[in-house]
């Protein structure tokens, strides 16, 4: 299944990415190549194979409900370019 120009624009918009016009074709080719590679799997008869959501044969990995220290506010905000009143300030998303 080939990725269309519209697919690229749609996914880019969902992720709020701006892809320069001249790169759309290249992204389209790369994404198509990835899909094609993964599509190899569908050439096999997998009717009696359970879907694998996880490669490890492990279930029920969890932790007890015991609090651990959080980051101090200034450390939490250390990478924020434009903090305000202890908050991360970001452009409104439309």
């Amino acid at each position: 299944m080939a990725i269309t120009r519209e697919d690229v624009l749609h996914v880019a918009r969902l992720a709020r990415l701006e892809i320069p016009e001249e790169e759309i074709g290249r992204v389209q080719e790369q994404l198509s190549a990835i899909l094609e590679a993964v599509g190899k799997v569908s050439e096999l008869d997998l009717s009696d194979v359970e879907p694998t959501s996880h490669p490890l044969d492990v279930v029920n990995a969890w932790a007890e409900d015991e609090p651990r220290p959080s980051l101090p506010q200034d450390e939490a905000l250390a990478n924020a370019p434009d903090p305000e009143d202890g908050h991360f300030r970001v452009p409104a998303v439309g």
């Binding site: 969890w62 007890e64 202890g86 908050h87 300030r89 409104a92």
Partner: protein
Amino acid sequence: MPLDPTRWEPVIGLEIHVQLKTKTKMFCRCENVWGEAPNTRTCPVCLAHPGTLPVPNRQAIEWAIRLGLALDCEIAPRSLFHRKNYFYPDLPKGYQISQYDSPIATRGRFSVPGPDGDREMGIVRAHLEEDAAKTIHVGGEGGRIHGAGASLVDFNRGGTPLVEIVTEPDVRSAEEARRFLGLLRQTVVELGISDAEMEKGSLRCDANVSVRETGETGYRTKTELKNMNSFKFVADGIDAELARQVELYEDGGEVVQETLHFDPRSGRISPLRSKEQAHDYRYFPEPDLVPVEPSPELVGRLRDELPELPAARIRRLEEEIGFDLALGLVTSGRDELFARVPGDDRRATANVLMNQLAGAGVDPARVNADELAKLIAARDAIPRAAFDEALAASGDEGFTAERYLAEAAITDEGEIDAVIDRILAANEGQVQAYRSGKEGLLGFFVGQVMRETQGKANPKVVNERLRERLRA
């Protein structure tokens, strides 16, 4: 505004989010608390720093199963977490960890008692997920949601555990939706898994609303009403949307599937911007988390630990005190105290608990039931003010009714008649008006007598004597 039930039937499904009151968040061990300074309960996991990994909260998983069992659901022997992808500043990873096609609980039902018997509401599913951060929109025109210039983000709530419950479209009126929510709220409170306070956002409700002609069996196009943050707004929002849809159909129009915002102040419904609805979540299994496979022993233990549910208690109390009082007592968590208060006049006791005691804001768990019973038995013999004062104090340490009972009401008719005569003489105009038919003035006279006696006159006697004297 009620619909014409001979023509239109509401079809309503609810989506309810319950915030679990675990000590820590769903996938990290930051404290799960409300009302702290912004961004003081965060860590590299819930801030989505690269390279961090989520670790589920065992308590949250057990509580989700407990809730699933209370909703009579099947508990999945194997369930998965999925990533729900969307881009928004309240979601630092760019996806929410949720559950998709293998939720922890499916296919349940929840019994909702009503004045005309029980209604069973189907439960499609209950699943676990993490909450988004809290954003405050600032600047821009119009403020809230529409046209904001920037957002301030507080990640304290980000990553805290939620259970989302989805019902079948079985709810048939706004009032029923409200009753369902009240019962569900009380249920999760009694399960000990959530504060379930709509004002705080620890219980949230969206409604999928459509109408169809009475007798029609299929479903018509539905709309989704978002973010109604009180029981009243849920009911008002649904009623407004039902009316809007019926009007559309009756004018020959069509309902368009869309997400709507109800503004409780204006009572108006407006569509959320279409871009905000353009969701394409691209769910896939969360590779950082392994499946959850609760053992039959765990599920069995949680099932055995379930308390009797509110609906069952309402049915038991209904015979004794009627449906409305039973519903009120149980959904306000006062029926346990009601059961402890001795006395034969059960309806009077229920009324006092629902009205005066609730009005006084007394915690029912702290009330000495025997002392309260003495008060209720003597309620006509002591002044109203003393009764109210006593009720307000009934949750205090070492409370006894004795002190208040000593303050006997004025029941002596001669003494009350003397006051009445003074009042009537001073208000001849009103007396004339009453005698010429304005009987609503009785309340005025009662009020005057009560004021004159500083509230100590027995209101029942005052009423009787006033009527008698005014007839003359």
